[in-house]
């Protein structure tokens, strides 16, 4: 059975190779090949899953060793996979949602002349993401980690003729590289501390290592997670990443890749459990991002950027939960899975709306679309109810558990975290209601596009609506299914461990409080965007709104300090290299004209000098040796 693991990765990898090297011949069938191979990977995943269910809880980990990757004295890295309950969860999410989004893209990218290449990149992404979650050591995980970064770079910049897309792609890769620096330092620290960076041996030996080392490793892993999962302070790339085609935003920048940071922290639970200081930082990062993303999400008029703010915020919940330790790991992953369903669904819905509205993204120019796009409206609506935590739907179960876990942390810390997560739930209800109202309700505020064509909203083709319906079903039922009899808890507990903590409030009280903030959030949004009419031109807004529109000025900070500062630094260094270090001023071509005569003379001179020195040198050498003999 373990031999199937490599096939999981191989299917999409072959797809990527064939589609990217295959040339124009494959233009007609390439998208089907890509989708088929993604589906094949999903089927293999299901086979492995049913096999895993058939074994007892402590005997579910499979291992496949392919070959030794970098064998050097004292250093060992293998191409080897490990499939346990945690990676199984991810495999099903990645290949399942991945297949649906391949299917959706067939319709969405129908008129793009480079569709084959798009599917090649999507397949490449699946393969890299599967390597990331299946690796049995950190170096192989790193390979997958950067592989998904590459796929993300290629897909954000897929429409590279748009300078904004090319810039966004570059920015995403660069910011992620800062995170990668953290991951490589973490691996180096593991190597010097444990002599290995394979999961099993490292986790077994954490008990013997000093807490300082473990804290350092934990913080570096967190830096990596911040980059990939768009957490403060490395969050700035995610909003710009919305330049990519919408299926990419759904798959990579909502459901799977951006959650890799949560996976990394949960996978490294043994390290974090032994390093409480690092855990504290994780929790703080999660809490700050949770609010940061939510506030940004409230101010954006671009539907995809509003959803991106929401993604950041929801991953903030997951990171926070993972930072809580054994109290939260299971719920972090559970929210990750339910979020994968409803957020992917919301993005696909947004894509469907854009598809019908001449690629308009400004929600101020939507309005009243519910009657024109009924399927999109209903599926988006269910995703909306799920994300705000409407009772009975997926988000209700998974988010509620995180809020409970935050309180269960205990002490003042628990109260603060609990309050933050509650506040976040309120803001989530507000901004999602805002998106819902501005898009599907109210009067039509449609504007003709740049070419002067008025939009004719229509429902999207079947290949797009089917994935939306499937994801909506997941958004409705997944949470309840997981929570019934604590199924998900029992499933993951053998890998992550679990601890109930001590909650200062009963679960009922917390759920009640969540309901109260939810109602407040929805009501405020309704007052502002439902009852009052929405102006097409955005109002000036408060200071906070204006800052939030600019991603809370983080980009401005980056621009002034890093971009400008960096430009000045490199420019002065280039100047210095020419003048100071080189000692010879090159000057302009004109001044070279004057120099050329002299240089030519010099050149001949040097060539002769050179020859002379060769002979001279040899002569000296011979003389010296003769002298030695004589003596």
């Amino acid at each position: 059975m373990e031999n199937l693991i490599a096939l999981l990765v191989a299917a999409p990898l072959i797809g990527a190779a064939v589609l990217l090297c295959g040339g124009r011949r494959l233009d007609r069938a390439g998208h089907w090949l890509g989708t088929l191979l993604a589906a094949a990977s999903f089927v293999i995943g299901v086979v492995l899953f049913s096999d895993m269910l058939g074994r007892s809880a402590d005997d579910r980990s499979l291992h496949q060793h392919l070959f030794s990757w970098v064998p050097v004295e004292g250093f060992r890295a293998d191409i080897a996979f490990q499939l346990d309950q945690l990676s199984m969860t991810f495999v099903l999410l990645i290949t399942g949602v991945g297949t649906l989004i391949h299917l959706y893209s067939i319709g969405y990218m129908e008129h793009d002349e480079r569709r084959r290449r798009f599917f090649g990149y999507l397949n490449l992404f699946l393969a890299a993401m599967l390597i990331l979650v299946l690796a049995d050591n950190y170096l192989l995980l790193y390979l997958g980690w950067e592989g998904v970064g590459l796929a993300s770079y290629l897909l954000i910049g897929f429409w590279q003729h748009k300078p904004s897309a090319a810039t966004a792609a570059k920015k995403a890769f660069l910011v992620n590289r800062v995170g990668d620096m953290g991951l490589s330092i973490a691996i180096m620290l593991m190597f010097t501390t444990f002599g290995t960076f394979a999961f099993g041996p490292v986790f077994a030996a954490t008990g013997d290592a000093s807490e300082g080392k473990l804290t350092a490793i934990g913080l570096m892993l967190l830096l990596a997670a911040c980059g990939k999962s768009a957490q403060v302070p490395l969050q700035s790339w995610l909003g710009d990443a919305m330049e990519g085609p919408t299926p990419v935003s759904a798959l990579i920048h909502a459901a799977t890749m951006v959650t890799a940071g949560v996976y990394l922290i949960t996978r490294s639970s043994a390290v974090f459990n032994a390093a409480p200081d690092a855990q504290l930082v994780v929790v703080v990062v999660g809490a700050v991002t949770l609010l940061f993303g939510a506030i940004v999400g409230c101010a954006k008029d671009d539907i995809k950027k509003a959803l991106a703010g929401s993604t950041m915020s929801q991953i903030g919940y997951m990171i926070l939960a993972a930072g809580l330790g054994p109290i939260g790991y299971v719920f972090a992953i559970m929210h990750l899975v339910t979020h994968g369903f409803f957020k992917a669904g919301l993005f696909l819905g947004a894509g469907s709306v854009m598809h019908g509205m001449n690629d308009e993204v400004d929600m101020r120019k939507y309005g009243g679309l519910r009657t024109y796009m009924p399927v999109t409206f209903v599926t988006f609506g269910l995703g909306y109810l799920a994300i705000i935590g409407f009772p009975g739907l997926s988000g209700f179960f998974s988010k509620d558990k995180i809020i409970e876990a935050a309180f269960a942390k205990g002490g003042t810390e628990g109260w603060i975290l609990g309050a933050v997560t509650l506040l976040g739930a309120g803001i989530t209800a507000f901004y999602m209601t805002r998106v819902m109202l501005m898009t599907f309700f109210g009067e039509k505020r449609w504007q003709p596009d740049a070419k002067g064509d008025a939009p004719h909203p229509h429902e999207s083709p079947r290949s797009m609506t089917i994935p939306m319906i499937v994801l909506a079903v997941g958004s409705v039922f997944a949470g309840g299914f997981f929570s019934l009899g604590d199924r998900f808890l029992h499933w993951l507990e053998p890998v992550t461990g679990h601890d109930h903590g001590d909650a200062p409030l009963s679960a009922g009280v917390i759920t009640g409080a969540t309901m109260v903030v939810l109602v407040i959030g929805v009501a405020v949004a309704w007052l502002m965007y439902g009852r009052a009419s929405v102006p097409v031109a955005p109002p000036r807004g408060s200071l906070l709104t204006r800052a939030a529109r600019r991603d809370l000025l983080q980009d401005d900070f980056n621009h002034v300090v890093l971009v400008r500062g960096g430009e000045h630094l490199t420019r002065s260094l280039v100047y210095m290299d020419h003048t100071l270090v080189d000692g010879v001023v090159n000057g302009t071509a004109a001044s070279f004209g004057g120099l050329s005569g002299r240089l030519r003379k010099l050149q001949n001179g040097y060539a002769r000098t050179y020859a002379v020195s060769m002979f001279g040198g040899t002569a000296v050498l011979i003389a010296a040796t003769l002298l030695m003999r004589a003596v």
Binding site: D180, M188, T192, V620
Partner: protein, 525 residues
């Protein structure tokens, strides 16, 4: 006496050089094919060396030894260890691609008057083969004097290659092009000449102290204590050797000749400089500096690590600030040489194995990136980044291969440079954590200069000047595809290379009497 295989690997390209040079002026194409044939035959011999070489066997294998200048103890002594074999193979591998990529670089201009004695094409390819012969022999020489002669002699063909052949079109016109070329060639010669002369003094000094030029004899004598050097003497001799190698490698602040040389030379010659000839410098640090002067090497390590660190960061920052594609790649190479030197002087198994792999991988990745850049430049006739834009739309294959070359340069996992860069970092970190951490900044900066280069040249709206640009031709694909395949293969399965290199590194580690730092906690296997 068995067949002198190592001599043959050097003699064959030398014969090829003479044969190519002798082809009549009118038969230019024949000269090209002849040169290609000889380079491929050399590659075949190099493969034979790889096959005959036993990784677990004696330190130096396939040895040859003949008296040469008996009176002065100079011998013609050859032998290869794993490090030498790897670099020999790299050189033999790259030359056919260099020749094929430069197929039209030395064609006489169409308006040039026919002249029976004017044979630039023949000269170009003969010089390339001459460089190959000398570089290969320098990887094989185990006699210090023989090595010195080759180390110096290879400057002559390189000088003519840089000064005599340049890009077809130049922003400042033909006159400025010729001036800048000869300036670059002179600078190259001058820098390396000064290094060589200082080394000569050290070579003489070494003979005075040791009474022999034989590397293996000196290393053995040092190991068993029969040859002891005064601390001061050893340090001075070390510095003499190291200086010459640091110029060639090149190490900050001796690097400024490289951007000029690589910028003015044609792309294939630029590859010859950075991927092949410069490797002799880093190779010689491993073989001669560490082998002959172990104590001085340890003594100088802190200073060298600082210089290497400066090279890494400084080279990368300058690459970010370049406007000229080829100069950008040159500065990127300076950054990479910083990594190689850092790995050598970290004095750990991972660092030195990583440094050796780095030499090979950097050769392949720079060749891929630089040769594609050359194809691009030959289409538009400009080296300036700002003259391009939107190439991806008109020439997707060219853009794709350029991106892969770039991703290899930024050490993306899955491509071979990642393996070597990570080994160097880990090897350095385990002995000098602070140095290792600072060096990781290079990871971020590399992404910056590669992606900025790609964005400005390949993406965005299509510029008018590139609108009619053709995509890669068959000949160009034949050059690029095998290099990319190799980058992928060695990125996932570098074992064939590490198996050859590891034993040699163990020997070097024992030369300098170092052992790897032990991990804090011994994890259960």
């Amino acid at each position: 006496m068995s067949f002198p295989l190592l001599t043959a690997t050097a003699v064959l390209p030398a014969v090829g050089a003479i044969a190519t040079a002798a082809v009549p002026a009118a038969r230019r194409t024949a000269a090209k094919w002849l040169a290609l044939l000889f380079s491929l035959a050399t590659l075949a011999l190099a493969v034979l060396v790889l096959v005959r070489f036993e990784p677990g066997g004696a330190r130096y294998q396939l040895t040859e030894s003949h008296a040469w200048i008996a009176d002065f103890g100079v011998r013609y002594e050859l032998g290869v260890d794993g490090i030498g074999v790897a670099l020999l193979a790299l050189t033999a591998l790259l030359i056919p691609f260099v020749i094929l990529a430069g197929w039209h670089d030395a064609d006489p201009l169409e308006d040039a008057r026919p002249n029976r004695r004017w044979r630039p094409t023949q000269g170009f390819f003969a010089l390339i083969l001459m460089v190959e012969a000398m570089v290969i022999l320098s990887f094989e020489a185990t006699d210090v004097f023989l090595f010195y002669i080759l180390f110096e002699a290879m400057l002559i063909p390189m000088y003519f290659l840089i000064g005599g052949f340049g890009d077809r079109a130049h922003a400042g016109g033909d006159e400025a092009a010729a001036t800048q070329r000869s300036y670059a060639a002179v600078k190259f010669l001058l820098y390396n000449l000064v290094g060589g002369l200082i080394m000569l003094a050290a070579v003489i000094g070494l003979y005075v102290v040791a009474g022999t030029f034989s590397l293996s004899e000196i290393v053995a004598a040092r190991a068993d204590g029969s040859l002891s050097m005064a601390t001061g003497t050893e340090r001075w001799l070390f510095l003499g050797f190291f200086f010459a190698f640091a110029v060639k490698a090149p190490l900050w602040p001796l690097h400024t000749w490289l951007p000029n040389a690589m910028g003015e030379a044609t792309a294939p010659v630029a590859v010859l400089i950075t991927a092949v000839v410069d490797k002799v410098g880093t190779f010689a640090m491993l073989r001669f500096c560490l082998g002959l002067f172990p104590e001085a090497s340890t003594w100088a390590t802190p200073a060298i690590l600082v210089l290497a660190l400066i090279s890494i960061v400084y080279g990368a920052l300058l690459a970010v600030g370049q406007r000229d594609i080829k100069r950008l790649i040159a500065y990127a190479s300076i950054s990479h040489f910083g990594f190689i030197i850092m790995g050598i002087f970290a004095m750990t198994s991972q660092g030195q194995s990583g440094a050796t792999l780095y030499m090979v991988n950097h050769g392949i990745s720079t060749a891929a990136l630089m040769l594609v850049a050359g194809f691009l430049i030959s289409r538009r006739g400009s080296r300036l980044i700002a003259d391009y834009g939107g190439v991806q739309k008109v020439a997707p294959v060219l853009a794709g291969t350029f991106l892969i070359g770039g991703l290899a340069t930024l050490s993306l996992p899955g491509l071979s440079p990642f393996v070597s860069e990570f080994l160097v970092l880990v090897g350095t970190f385990s002995r000098y954590p602070v140095v290792g951490v600072i060096a990781t900044v290079g990871i971020v900066l590399a992404a910056l200069y590669v992606l900025v280069l790609y964005q400005r040249t390949m993406t965005g709206p299509v510029k008018d000047a590139v609108r009619t640009m053709p995509d890669l031709r068959i000949r160009e694909l034949v050059v690029v595809t095998p290099l990319i395949a190799l980058l992928l293969f060695l990125g996932v399965y570098p074992k064939p290379l590490t198996e050859i290199v590891n034993p040699a590194v163990e020997h070097t580690m024992s030369d300098v009497q170092k052992t790897d730092p032990k991990p804090e906690v011994e994890a259960a296997p």
